[in-house]
């Protein structure tokens, strides 16, 4: 079966991205296809490579990257939501005249079309959200 996950919540402020990560791992370990994980709203902060955690705490953005090293994963961050929250890749940094960029390796910025396209191609679409 083909799955797409949608993550709406901040990795620091809400548990939802951690639940999504565990679900993603369970999908992959069961041999199913994870077509895409789409990050929207505050979920785009999952793609911020500058998120830093004390040594004894989890770091969800790093955990996504680790999962993407184990399995081929399409981690797509909504570009419109991301630039508003200061999550930029090199191209967007140039476009908005910023001298830094911080999109984590393994993630890519793209439009909401990637969410709709993924939903069209997937058997199950599951949203992991938080209030806000």
């Amino acid at each position: 079966m083909i799955f797409t996950l949608v993550v709406h919540a901040s990795p620091v402020q809400h548990q939802a991205p951690e639940t999504a990560l565990r679900f993603a791992r369970a999908v992959l370990e069961a041999g199913h296809t994870l077509h895409r994980v789409f990050f929207y709203r505050d979920g785009v902060l999952n793609g911020n490579t500058l998120v830093s955690s004390p040594a004894d705490e989890s770091n969800i953005p790093e955990d996504w990257q680790a999962l993407a090293k184990e399995y081929p994963l399409d981690l797509v961050v909504c570009i419109a939501a991301a630039i508003r929250r200061g999550v930029l890749d090199a191209n967007e940094a140039r476009r908005y005249d910023k001298n830094q960029h911080n999109l984590a390796p393994g993630f890519e910025l793209s439009g909401l079309g990637q969410l709709v396209e993924a939903a069209m191609l997937s058997d199950r679409v599951i949203t992991f959200g938080g209030r806000g």
Partner: protein, 119 residues
Amino acid sequence: MNKRFLLICSRPPYGSSAARDLLDIALTCSVFEQSVSLLLMGDAILQLLPEQNPTAIRQKNLNAIQSSLALYDIESIYVDAEALRFHGLSAETLLLKPQALEPDALQQLIREQDVVLPL
């Protein structure tokens, strides 16, 4: 490939970005020629109040985006009937002429969907 998408929202406009973020998904579904319905529950029915003017709070007027929905063939707009009663509103006074659903009809609507995207 055409799928039936239902977008569900329960947040009022302006206090958060939920209403606008929902409309962005709706318009994108339409660009991909998918069937899309909007279900506004609870406080989200307040998104459809007319005469909004958020200029002074420096936000875009939702009414303007809402009035373009028909151009995108998004005409299936539903509200939960209980929320209308809670807020003392009637569907006829709201923009986009939403259809009010009691729980039975709301459950039927969900059963007809391929993809449900809550926000």
